[in-house]
Subunit: 157 residues, 6 copies
């Protein structure tokens, strides 16, 4: 039984995230989407909103659950008895960032990390790109699912 | 039950490869190390020698087996009923190469790829680096296990 | 007749920008320098100051005009009936950023992007580098034209 | 009137190349696809075969022509009175290579280069990837048009 | 006699910095660790605290001294009669940043820069990573020496 | 007294190499340019020709000497009692290659490596670029000094 944790800020949930979640659900027995309380950047969504959005978009994936992550990833992984961290990478910048975080999590928590290369079709999705597009009221349907669009529109009125 | 395939030329097997194999063995129910018959580059070891070296160095990993891979990876994956391809990445160059191969394998064989970021201690291991060091008779014990060293010495006498 | 838009924050105009503008002016029938109202970063110059600086430094280029860009690039491109977006790239970081923005602009506005590789002599010019140098009163004449130097000195007195 | 040259080895022509050609045809008055006689690598196709394949796949583009390029790019550009070189880039490796070639062509031939970022869907297309897939008889229809597939099959029988 | 300056914000001093300092001390007759008054980012440590921490951790290196750097690096280098700037690089992002800063320092101050590639074991050390780990009270002994740990604990109580 | 070794294949000597040599000569008491007998690639120049070309172009640098390097770099460094290896880097590809070689030389020979970032003006110089330009008889005076041009012309007649 292999339990994976997919940590992130999910501010907001995107199709890129959903692709990593659905792919992980096929590879591991259990997948916990861990919503980090992002300390440095001001978040657009509350942790509760994020959890609701992720849950509603993963109902079909029976082995996927969503939890808030109030601590460092490796501590959370140990607290839920998980075996591996999963992250997606879209470009060189992501790769170099995840390389170091994987080394730190292995050293501090003796937990491994697998990286899922983004599908080409999702590689341009980033929360900063989509928030800029949303701010000007343009079409973000390539970036995020319907219920996220609705909530963004409410927040950017 | 998740079966993974770790394809490569393994010319020769290195500690970097062994790290990917042992990590994969913890993440997936079965791991098949698939020794590709590398078409373009002249190999230093025969396919049989490679398979023997890998088998002898993974005896402790009960869920790991080694097979020759005479075909494209996605065809081999389908032929052995595997679910995912595993590859290791040491730097940006590896990442960009694996990104495209993952996209091709997904399109042609509908099979996913997970990338294991190399541990920092193994990132400088490459078959070209180690062959250059070996050619001048220097110490390659950081790069490869003992039985590989012996066979390299025989071949570079 | 091919009309190009060169969008940016131009905070301030640099020789790197002017190189992209003059090169574009040779390649396209019309070039509109579109001064974005940069939402996230606090700008050093007002939009009006930027437009004046760009206009005064491109008087010799008859097919170049300057406009404020209050909206997303692809919407602006459509509003002025332009055919292509032009951007300069100085390094890998720029390339990866522009790659995704080009994909988004093509998907949302069906408009193409051409990238002009920076000349080596200009690749170290960035608004953050030059503002740091200017703040300490050092020579910024490699970075920006004379009238920009004057205005920066006024602002950093 | 702006005339562009798109130089390459086109061994063989791919959908990535065709995307660059059709995009260039919209941006410049004339586009010459210049088939380089690639000195270092052994080519799979003759120059004549390449020219025929490119011509047959660009019949709909009235402002596109195809010529053999027996010399360095900047000399060819000057010999046909062209104004700019167009190249496609798929990743960081391509970017860094093209950056230097653009600098050399500008210094030696005073000719500029524009880079077209590959669309995400084509970024995994490379002649080495597609030749490897073709060699094993797998589906290369994502990589190359029909007439190229036919010729490859003849050559790899 | 060759005098080197190792400039940085040292917020805080890390084992990566200490590795660069000790390596520089072997290569150059004198090494001045120049503590920059970092203008843009809010610092966790005062300049005095930084200087004390660096001094206490380099007592064994007789040719190393520590000074505050209130100005641009190239001006400081000239003011102390130094000959070269030393910087460490951990990844591609660092390399591209240092490449441009080296070009600017050479142009403005006619001073050269040498880059020390980080040892693999230290490449994941960054002030942002360690501050995030420290904030959650986890073990930062891989990142920083003992006296820095103590001061961080005081500051993050 | 600090003795540096600048190893390379120098096939042929370029202005990029000469820039690294002259900069090293200012930083270290002695600089040995070590001409490697490049095992994998077919060299255009003999080792003797290379040594003559380098010597003739560094006569003004009293602390620079040139030696053939028949062995691995770290063994050569030890054999001449040197303290550090110097290498130049022009781009990301160079950086990632040198990062690993520096780690190997440090592990096998306990010798450090300093990297000199190429000046922007020289970053496009590579032996493959210049040989391609030379083969077609174009101007290579930006790449290599006069005596190298003469010898190349002789060899490519």
């Amino acid at each position: 039984m292999v339990k994976a944790v997919f940590p992130g800020s999910f501010d907001p949930l995107t199709f890129g995230h959903l692709d990593v979640i659905s792919r992980s659900a096929l590879l591991f027995d259990q997948v916990i989407v861990a919503v980090g309380i992002n300390t440095s950047k001001t978040a657009m969504f509350t942790t509760e909103e994020k959890i609701t959005l992720i849950s509603n978009n993963t109902k079909n994936l029976k082995n996927v659950s969503v939890l808030p992550m109030p601590d460092l990833t490796f501590k959370f992984v140990s607290s839920v008895g998980a075996d591996v961290i999963v992250r997606g990478i879209r470009n060189v910048r992501d790769y170099e960032y995840e390389r170091d975080i994987a080394e730190i999590n292995h050293r501090l928590g003796n937990v491994d990390t697998v990286l899922l290369p983004s599908k080409a079709v999702y590689q341009d999705i980033s929360s900063s790109n989509l928030k800029e597009v949303a701010k000007f009221g343009a079409d973000i349907s390539h970036f995020v699912p319907e219920n996220v669009i609705k909530l963004i529109k409410l927040k950017t009125k």
